[in-house]
């Protein structure tokens, strides 16, 4: 298979890859946002109780 043809998507490259990029941004962004939210909460809990989420000192 020819990779150049593959990336060209029969002339629909912008639309096809644009769609998949949107999915990547939305899913990646959601996971990143949740991870940051969790990290922020974990540091707050650490400063309050002196224990990390795992219960380690």
């Amino acid at each position: 298979m020819n990779w150049k043809d593959f990336f060209n998507m029969g002339g629909y490259a912008f639309y096809v890859w644009g769609s998949y990029l949107t999915m990547l941004i939305l899913i990646g962004g959601e996971v990143l946002a949740v991870s940051l939210r969790k990290q922020k909460l974990a540091t707050r809990q650490f400063s309050r109780t002196g224990t990390s989420e795992d219960g380690n000192q």
């Binding site: 298979m1 998507m9 002339g11 629909y12 639309y15 096809v16 769609s19 999915m23 899913i27």
Partner: protein
């Protein structure tokens, strides 16, 4: 085993943590498998050319947007009717994932519509009702964010979510009720699907991946919401206690 125990947010918190990898890892595997089948196995469509490959995300995203809305309204209703905090938190957590999938279905729909219909957007029944779905999600999220008291925020959100459920069958049947530009259902519950079997396989694998991803990310966010709302309880202790129990049982 007493399942009612997990209705309490602090008891569910460690369980949710243990469940996440069981959904996240299969989701990642199925996303890769779905993309492989979608791009390397499924043939080129004789009418739409390669542009149809957008459908492998558009269709699952649109389904997830509708299904998650019903699920969100269901949890919100349970939380409201039985005063169950965990169910209300679940509704808040689902709303973000649902809004994200609905937005994805609209964007991918526009990206497919431009080369296929020749326009990014038409005020067609299905497109318009899906846009209303996105506004309902945004309304739910901003309403909850605007109210400081979590109990009142849950109740107000529940009313909005339940009223908005009416829109879901409207979206689903819009292609039958009105003469729309949007095509009819590709996959029918009864009868044969109207597409090639490898195309159908790619779509179903992507749908399964989206489901698993939604569960994983919803549980992750739910843990954050529990942490934020139940600050008076030390979840750290709850988690280490449950780990201790499991290790004792093992």
């Amino acid at each position: 085993m007493n399942w009612y125990k997990y209705a309490s947010p602090s008891a569910f918190y460690p369980l949710a943590g243990r469940l996440i990898p069981w959904f996240a890892i299969p989701a990642a595997v199925l996303f890769i498998a779905g993309l492989y089948v979608g791009f390397f196995v499924a043939p080129t469509d004789f009418q739409q050319g390669e542009a149809y490959r957008i459908m492998f995300i558009h269709v699952p995203a649109a389904w997830m947007g509708m299904l998650l809305y019903v699920l969100m309204a269901g949890y919100a209703a349970i939380g409201w009717a039985f005063n169950a905090r965990l169910a209300s938190m679940m509704a808040s957590s689902i709303s973000i994932a649902g809004a994200s999938f609905t937005l994805l279905s609209l964007v991918t729909g526009a990206l497919w519509g431009k080369p296929t219909w020749g326009t990014w957007w038409v005020w067609d029944a299905r497109l318009t009702s899906t846009l209303i779905l996105l506004f309902l999600y945004i309304g739910f999220i901003s309403l909850q964010a605007a109210i400081d008291d979590p109990k009142r925020a849950d109740r107000a959100g529940a009313v909005l979510a339940i009223v908005g459920v009416v829109n879901v069958p409207i979206i689903y049947f819009s292609v039958q009720w009105w003469n729309t530009l949007h095509q009819g259902a590709t996959i029918r519950i009864l009868g044969k699907p109207s597409i090639h079997s490898t195309m159908l396989a790619a779509m179903l694998i992507m749908l399964a991946a989206c489901w698993l991803y939604s569960v994983a990310v919803t549980l992750m966010r739910l843990r954050c919401i529990i942490m934020e709302r139940e600050q008076h309880i030390s979840l750290v202790n709850a988690e280490s206690r449950s780990r201790l129990q499991t290790s004792v049982q093992a």
